[in-house]
Symmetry: C2
């Protein structure tokens, strides 16, 4: 039996696969809303039954929140752990939906057929691409491509409160696989599949600067008393140099230049930086001079002020000279940057910049290093070739400016490297009304997993 037979089986079974997906989509498994607790259980049970029908030893394991679906099947190398999540976002505002979010349907659009409904792209449709690939493989071969552990979470959209305790509590069982496959990311575009191999880390700091010990009248004290907004602005203004580089001492320690191979892949993507910025009303890259926009958002660290407040901010005017001013500042981290070292250096820099009479309080908001996938693992290049065979354009190893904590958790608590492959698109309306998943993402996504499983075993 050849891969082609599996792919043909996938094509022939597409309508049935869609029916199965629709059944899962109709269960309103909104994890953040207690009113849908039973539906989350129902979705977990449906997945257990579906896996069991394939011969997977599966169960819905209870947690303090929604159940974790775990299944084991097959043998041989490699041993892969597949992760997806069966919970979905709330649907508000309901009036903006063009159809009942839990009555999914295939719709025609200018970009082809889509599956419309809550959870289609995030993440039930993606999760089922892998299950359907396994189903076709099993139907054709009578067995499994390799040893597979399934892990389906039901709390991803509500902060994953049970995940870390569950990984810790079941580390013996869940750390056996060689690699984790995660299907919760996007392609580069409709033609170009992707493996996300670089996720920026995130360091959050809140600083509050106090000048006078009470709010003052700017007439009586203005000119003599230090204004903490002035002090805070000076500090923020000093965080970037004229070339857009972050000035925190030692900030770039552990930031490597992009390997030539990755650089070449990114250049081949034909990324339209003008359109990317133009879509949000901008036209000048604001990051480090001499770096491409893709580098700026995927491969370079940043410092952003996410919020600032001080003094009177209501309507009209009040001549207050405020006692306090504060800002929420975050750093996106790449490579081997050490969030704890940067936090320390940032705090020292702020102290140095503080004018006389000002005090500063620091409040920390998380510190996670970048996730850099182990692309020297041959599975990555094999999967990239497999994806390239399925889609019009070659696949690329991409970065992602945002953070996907799950890959870090697998590394930290199970010692597992992750490979993130997903078939979402930028216009999928994740977390928004009218979420959709391209029918091609579903169909060719299933075919892609069959190719990847074939290539990495």
């Amino acid at each position: 039996m050849t891969l082609d037979t599996v792919l043909t089986r996938i094509d022939d079974d597409l309508d049935a696969a869609l029916d199965r997906l629709m059944t899962l989509l109709r269960i309103p498994s909104i994890s953040t809303d207690p009113a849908y607790k039973d539906d989350c259980q129902k979705a977990a049970d449906w997945l257990v039954a579906d896996l069991a029908a394939l011969g997977v030893k599966a169960e819905a394991r209870p947690t303090p929140g929604h159940p974790m679906v775990v299944g084991h099947v097959g043998d041989g190398a490699p041993h892969v752990l597949f992760y997806g999540h069966y919970d979905v976002q709330p649907v508000d505002p309901l009036e903006l939906w063009t159809r009942d979010p839990f009555d999914p349907a295939i719709e025609d659009t200018a970009n082809g057929k889509v599956i419309r409904g809550r959870g289609t792209a995030d993440d039930k449709g993606q999760l089922m691409t892998f299950v359907e690939a396994c189903r076709a493989w099993k139907a054709v071969h009578g067995d499994w491509p390799c040893k597979i552990t399934f892990l389906f979470e039901g709390e991803e959209e509500s902060g994953s409160p049970s995940l870390i305790p569950f990984l810790k509590g079941n580390a013996d069982e869940l750390s056996q696989p060689d690699i984790a496959l995660i299907c919760d990311t996007s392609m580069f575009n409709r033609q170009t599949p992707a493996i996300t191999t670089m996720l920026r880390g995130l360091l959050g700091e809140e600083i509050t600067i106090t000048g006078p010990d009470k709010d003052l009248h700017s007439g009586y004290f203005g000119g003599a008393a230090m204004n903490p907004i002035r002090a805070l602005s000076r500090i923020i203004a000093a965080l970037h140099d004229e070339n857009g580089r972050v000035t925190v001492p030692g900030f770039y320690d552990g930031v490597a230049e992009l390997p030539d191979a990755i650089k070449a892949q990114w250049e081949a993507l034909g990324f339209d930086a003008d359109a990317f910025l133009g879509d949000v009303g901008l036209n000048t890259p604001a990051g480090e001079a001499g770096r491409s926009v893709l580098e700026q958002v995927w491969a370079r660290p940043t410092c952003e002020v996410n919020g600032i407040t001080g003094g009177y901010t209501g309507d009209g005017f009040k001549t207050v000279l405020p006692s306090k001013a504060s800002a929420k500042i975050s750093f996106r981290l790449v490579g081997q940057q050490d969030p704890h070292a940067i936090r320390k250096s940032f705090r020292a820099m702020v102290q140095d910049l503080l004018p006389p009479d000002c005090k500063v309080e620091f409040h920390e908001h998380g510190a996670s290093p970048a996730s850099v996938m182990a692309t020297d693992n041959p599975a990555f290049e094999a999967a990239r070739q497999a994806l390239s065979d399925e889609w019009p354009n070659d696949a690329a190893f991409l970065g992602s400016g945002g953070s996907i904590p799950i890959a870090g958790y697998f590394k930290d608590y199970l010692g597992l490297d992750s490979m993130l492959i997903g078939f979402g698109l930028e216009d999928d309306q994740l977390h928004s009304p009218n979420e959709k998943y391209d029918l091609a993402s579903f169909h060719k996504g299933i075919r892609s997993w069959a190719r990847v499983l074939d290539a990495i075993r």
Copy 2:
């Protein structure tokens, strides 16, 4: 008859003067609260009757708000206009008062006897110092020291909405005097009387900077998209140089050095800059290097940020890259600084500092130049000598960092110079619970006005 006879009469009549003041204080003439409209009328009527008893041709003139009390009496030079206001601030929070705010009484304190109650210092007690001085003068001399016009406002604590229309509508009548005497300010301290001769002006600007046209995810766009908080902070940081000078081009045009005579008076005041700053938790003057704290707050212009806001400012953290950031910025002005020229220069400077992709909107919040009193008018030096004769320390010509609009209105709408003499103290709790007026302020305030009237006629 000599001045001493008048002063003796004032001493002998003090209990009766206090009884009259108490009667006025018992009327809860809170101008901002419509529930007290009748009480405002009642206070105006009481003042008309009191003036009439002295032979003043007085009446309560209706306005769209509370009445304006106007009275004329006497003849000879100079013709003075005396201004005070009979309305008071609200009394909330009532539970913080140690007595009914409208049941005033004399109380003993560590600093001597005080009159406790709403409006004692602001401004009924101050207003009555002048009336009582006139009463004693009339009793002793049988006539008036000079021609006097009385103008008592009932809306000072609620923004004076009727004042400018009233001044304009009665300009023929009210512009006859040679000088305005205003009793609504403070002494330098318990021993040192003052004539306030420099009031800083105020220019207010609100700037809103827009970067991207919507809020962005700092993971996906951070590093490529300009953050408007960063742009705003750079602008604010650029508004002062390393020596605390304001950098707006042309800002210091029209700012003169303090005359030596005034400088000498201020040095003689023994102002305790350490205590002034120490009271609000500070110890380093933040204004222009090389200037005394008194110069910084009275005689030098400033730029303050009164409020700043942008991005997420609630609890916790949100990795937003905001579309907008804004700040409320004010300039205190001195001497001949032109608020309109400075507004224009400030706006041009902001435009120059704006990074690519940022837009700025400006919103104006008032523009009033500094009031610099005509101290070359001999009445000022005569009054200063008269005050020095009454109090332990010599009187000084002071500045005031805040703005007292009335002097500007008299200049603009009546062409009148003003002389601001008041007997308030820093601890009078104006606008706050437990307002008081030192009994010495009242008694020696009456004596002071008798001396001033004697000196300037």
